[in-house]
Assembly symmetry: C2
Homo-oligomer: 187 residues x 2
């Protein structure tokens, strides 16, 4: 695998590009996010906005664009144009040799969080590429007073991002002293 | 983030290097695997070799070295020198705004699967960098008749790898017709 560098240079995934928008201001869904940096996966997480556990909990996989990740590791802050993807997948318990617990299956939803300090008054915006139960190529950001905006701005550990659930980045934020002033690490 | 390419070139993580060994044949633990390609995460998965569910299930995060991933996407096969990392993390249910389900916490174990067609008679070998409850910088591969070898060679979907649990790669293997002849997709 000595050709790794050449492959990275040629790879369509690692463009490090800014988020892309349509002329109407909708966010264009990135198709290469599975080659971004993985931050965490949760199962059946609920904070009051989702349905209670039905016995078929969903996995939430969180990815961030690689250049933004590098910047966060260096500074503990998110650069302008940072983009996160939340990929929701259904879970299965019995399949192949697995007898218990849960493993990941089909995609149920793809959502995104985007930082754009000039485009959005609130700096951060949220989109759901899977609204209405269909996967869309573009999605309009929610209004600035959406439930997403309110919850992220109120409860997130670093800027508007839930770094408290990203174990490796939480350590970075502690070292760089970039936890939000209002964030209570003991809550 | 126009400097993304330069950052990738300089980034210590994306070396695309082959697995490294000590003169005694132990595998050297990669420290940059969180910047590799994420394949899946399971919670509390059990296939008879682990303890039953205690109410505190563990997350299993699987990563593969980026150049090997690119090769698999192109061919449906793993190139020589492919390396996987299995990162086991404890789970928590209550913290910050989360009220249900499970999110990831501390590292409990780091294990690896390595393909080296000349070094290992069985081509694939398995190591546990956390044997004895401590994280080690190096670990000797298990013998070729270990439980890991036996189970992977008997039950894996592609070569010795559990692609049946990696949703995106399972689709690649189906398209490329590289599922093992003995693998029963309906089991």
């Amino acid at each position: 695998m000595k050709y790794a560098l050449a492959m990275l240079l040629l790879a369509p995934g690692f463009t490090g590009n800014d988020p892309r928008f349509t002329p109407e201001g909708a966010v264009i869904r990135p198709t290469d996010y599975r080659e971004w940096i993985f931050l965490t996966s949760g199962l059946g997480m609920s904070y009051g906005m989702r349905m209670p556990d039905t016995g078929h909990p969903d996995f939430d996989n969180v990815f961030v664009e690689p250049a933004a990740y590098k910047a966060f590791v260096a500074t503990g802050k998110w650069p302008d144009k940072t983009m996160f993807i939340l990929e929701v997948r259904s879970s299965l318990s019995h399949g192949s040799i697995n007898k218990a617990g849960h493993f990941q299956s089909d995609i149920l939803a793809i959502e995104a969080e985007v930082k754009d300090e000039t485009r959005f008054k609130e700096k951060w915006a949220y989109v759901d590429f899977s609204h209405g139960g269909t996967l869309h190529d573009t999605a309009k950001p929610f209004d600035g007073d959406s439930a997403c905006n309110v919850c992220h701005s109120k409860n997130a550990a670093v800027e508007n991002t839930f770094v408290q659930f990203y174990p490796t980045l939480l350590e970075v934020a502690k070292v760089k002293h970039t936890l939000n002033a209002g964030y209570n690490a003991n809550q």
